[in-house]
């Protein structure tokens, strides 16, 4: 912009800024007539002038605060731990490498400081409750939670096993591991997640950055249950929900219910593991976001189907594409289904399918829209395919649901006496009911009535309306849920 023009823009701006707001528009119109560029400049300066300087001050102050936070903490002692250096920083706060200063152990640990500004009271209360469960965790692929407390200034911190390793994705890349080796590594990750699920702990933030592979080639999961410690969910705080969805969670691995701020269950971890597996197989993330705004993230995660892994690989690796096509496409996309109820019911089932694939056995998952795709296939190949193949496909589909029914509803389980109309979806729905009730019970035991109520209500919603059977087993579950709901409501009232 020429000097004279900048000068005149300033003059107009300064004069307009001193006018009464109601007179400005007319004045700017008159002074900038015929020069839309100058007019835009003046108007945007006026708008900025009206907002004051708070944003600038806030940015400077927060930078100072962050600088001082770091320098404050390195060298500081928290309980028996001496902080050595900052090793990471994320939405939740900074992570430091530390060692015990009391000489008891030589062991190095990771200390996670909770970012100032998060709800300290809430975190501490939750931490006290969760540490019982998390502290008991003992699995070779889960980084141990060791300790926790509050620094002198009131900031909560969490002490975890220190793992010197690389992200699982980077590890596989640097070692140039093949598909099978990657899957075997991934299976160990699944076993860790399943272990936690059996104790009713959902990770909620599974991503390569939380899955490190140490020098011995052992994958280690970090931050189990930490996400739950730090954030409330479903407390009606919209802002909070949006922040988690778009900012703090990594949108590439977050499932639809998570970005929508809905309750998170083991199905969410199944989805995130699916996304991690997707990346391990293809080197690409399942979703691409044009912008990282809550709206775009929600739209993409909830509405767009991920491209099949084999299609991603096809572009530059035909051999890999052929390896992924079929089973692995199906398995990964099944884990990543938009509707939680349509994913693998548990991580174990996800892992089972991978094991089956590795053993060349038939997998249990079917491709999405199986019938639709077969129809499309038939249409594409109308001339070449005869009636025989159409029948074969139909037969395969029928056979499948029979086989699955027997697998999912074996004789002797609690659902065994259900009528034989039970199909695949129903079976998985009922399993879900069972899981949710057990989850509700575990919350109830901890007197977490709100979460308990939520679990029971979800369980209730999972029982299909059209299931009119008066099977005693089903009735027993219905009664059980009603009792649970009543109990939880009573608990909530007493708390008030």
């Amino acid at each position: 912009m020429p000097h004279e023009k900048w000068d005149s823009i300033q003059e107009i701006f300064l004069e307009a800024a001193d006018l009464h707001p109601s007179e400005r528009a007319v004045f700017v119109d008159r002074m900038c007539s015929g020069d839309p560029e100058a007019r835009m400049e003046v108007e945007s300066l006026l708008r900025a002038d009206a907002t004051g300087e708070s944003a600038v001050c806030a940015a400077i102050e927060s930078e100072i605060a962050s600088m001082l936070d770091e320098s404050l903490l390195v060298g500081v002692r928290l309980g028996p731990y001496q902080l050595l250096k900052e090793i990471g920083r994320g939405g939740m706060g900074a992570v430091y490498l530390a060692e015990r200063a009391d000489g008891q152990f030589q062991k190095q640990v990771a200390v996670k400081m909770v970012r100032p500004g998060l709800d300290t009271e809430f975190i501490l209360a939750r931490f006290r409750r969760e540490r019982q469960v998390l502290g008991r965790f003992d699995h070779p692929n889960i980084g141990k939670l060791l300790d926790g407390g509050t620094a002198a200034n009131g900031t909560p911190y969490i002490v975890m096993e220190y793992i010197d390793g690389d992200w699982i994705t980077r590890y596989c890349k640097s070692k140039a591991l093949g598909v099978e080796e990657r899957l075997r590594l991934f299976l160990r990750v699944c076993s860790a997640v399943h272990y936690a699920h059996l104790q009713f702990v959902v990770h909620r933030d599974l991503k390569p950055g939380n899955i490190l592979v140490d020098s011995k080639g052992e994958p280690k999961l970090l931050d189990f249950g930490i996400c739950k410690l730090l954030y409330r969910d479903q407390d009606g705080d919209q802002n909070n929900t949006v922040t988690i969805g778009a900012g703090l969670l990594t949108p590439q691995y977050a499932c639809p219910e998570q970005v929508r701020g809905e309750p998170v269950t083991i199905a969410s971890d199944v989805y995130s593991l699916g996304a991690v597996c997707y990346e391990l197989m293809t080197g690409a993330r399942p979703h691409i976001f044009s912008e990282l705004t809550p709206q775009v993230v929600e739209q993409v995660v909830c509405m767009q189907d991920a491209i099949a892994p084999s299609e991603v690989a096809r572009q530059d690796n035909a051999k890999l594409a052929a390896r992924l096509r079929g089973d692995l496409d199906t398995i990964i996309l099944h884990a990543m289904r938009k509707e939680p109820a349509k994913r693998y019911e548990t991580v174990e089932r996800f892992a089972d399918d991978i094991r089956k694939h590795l053993a060349d056995e038939p997998i249990t998952a079917r491709p999405d829209h199986f019938v639709y795709r077969s129809r499309k296939f038939l249409r594409r190949n109308r001339l070449a395919v005869g009636v025989g193949l159409a029948l074969l496909i139909a037969f395969a589909a029928g056979l499948f649901s029979n086989e699955l029914r027997h697998r999912l509803v074996p004789g002797g389980t609690r659902w065994a006496s259900l009528p034989l109309t039970t199909d695949h979806q129903l079976a998985s729905q009922l399993q879900r009911v069972e899981l949710l009730v057990v989850l509700g019970d575990s919350y109830a035991r901890e007197h977490d009535w709100k979460d308990a109520l939520l679990a029971y209500q979800q369980a209730q919603a999972q029982i299909p309306n059209n299931l009119t059977t008066d099977d005693p087993a089903l009735q027993a579950w219905r009664d059980r849920i009603s009792t649970g709901i009543a109990l939880a409501q009573q608990g909530m009232n007493e708390k008030k």
Partner: protein
């Protein structure tokens, strides 16, 4: 010669128009201010937000308390200190930004950048970029804005250092502040990635 005395002399040289004095002054003040900034919080941090102004005043009080230089030198000190404060903060912002990208920016594949951006874009970097652009267009305004935000200097202080009428300083500041604020509003929109 004590540190305070040498700073006083350099300030006097600077006021007399000796450009070399500025570099030496900055080399002397940068570590001092940084040390002070870090030490300051160790003792006095209890919840209140800290402004760079407080740091600069603190630095002045500690470094020059014995020498009690004249107003002219004090204003000069503030101006230089403001510039250094900005430098310290932007150095920190850029370093932690690089660290977030794994400390080895070149090695991080492009697709991981989006994740990093989502975590915490540094508004400080945006401020610095905007100030640099303003300096290219209108260096005086950039300097005044810097003095205001990073040194907590009043229009009178700046007028004294730069030898221009206070009324003019106020006008420049109003434009400069609006300019900076506007640039910052622009960056508060999410960046386009991928």
């Amino acid at each position: 010669m004590s540190e305070g005395q040498s700073i006083t002399m350099l300030l006097r040289d600077l006021a007399a128009g000796n450009k070399g004095a500025l570099d030496r002054l900055m080399a002397l003040l940068y570590p001092e201010l940084q040390r002070l900034a870090r030490g300051y919080m160790r003792n006095e941090r209890t919840g209140h937000t800290l402004q760079p102004t407080a740091l600069v005043h603190e630095a002045y009080a500690r470094l020059l308390q014995q020498d009690q230089p004249e107003y002219n030198s004090r204003a000069h000190f503030m101006g230089v200190a403001a510039h250094i404060m900005r430098q310290i903060l932007i150095d920190h912002a850029r370093a932690s930004n690089a660290e977030k990208r794994g400390g080895k920016a070149a090695k991080v594949p492009f697709d991981e950048v989006a994740e990093v951006v989502a975590e915490r874009p540094s508004a400080m970097i945006a401020i610095d970029d905007a100030l640099q652009e303003l300096a290219r267009r209108d260096p005086l305004k950039a300097q005044l804005v810097e003095m205001r935000f990073f040194g907590g200097m009043t229009a009178e202080d700046s007028a004294e250092v730069l030898k221009i009428p206070v009324v003019q300083v106020r006008r420049h500041l109003r434009v400069g502040q609006a300019w900076l604020q506007r640039a910052l509003d622009g960056t508060s929109e999410p960046e386009k990635k991928n």
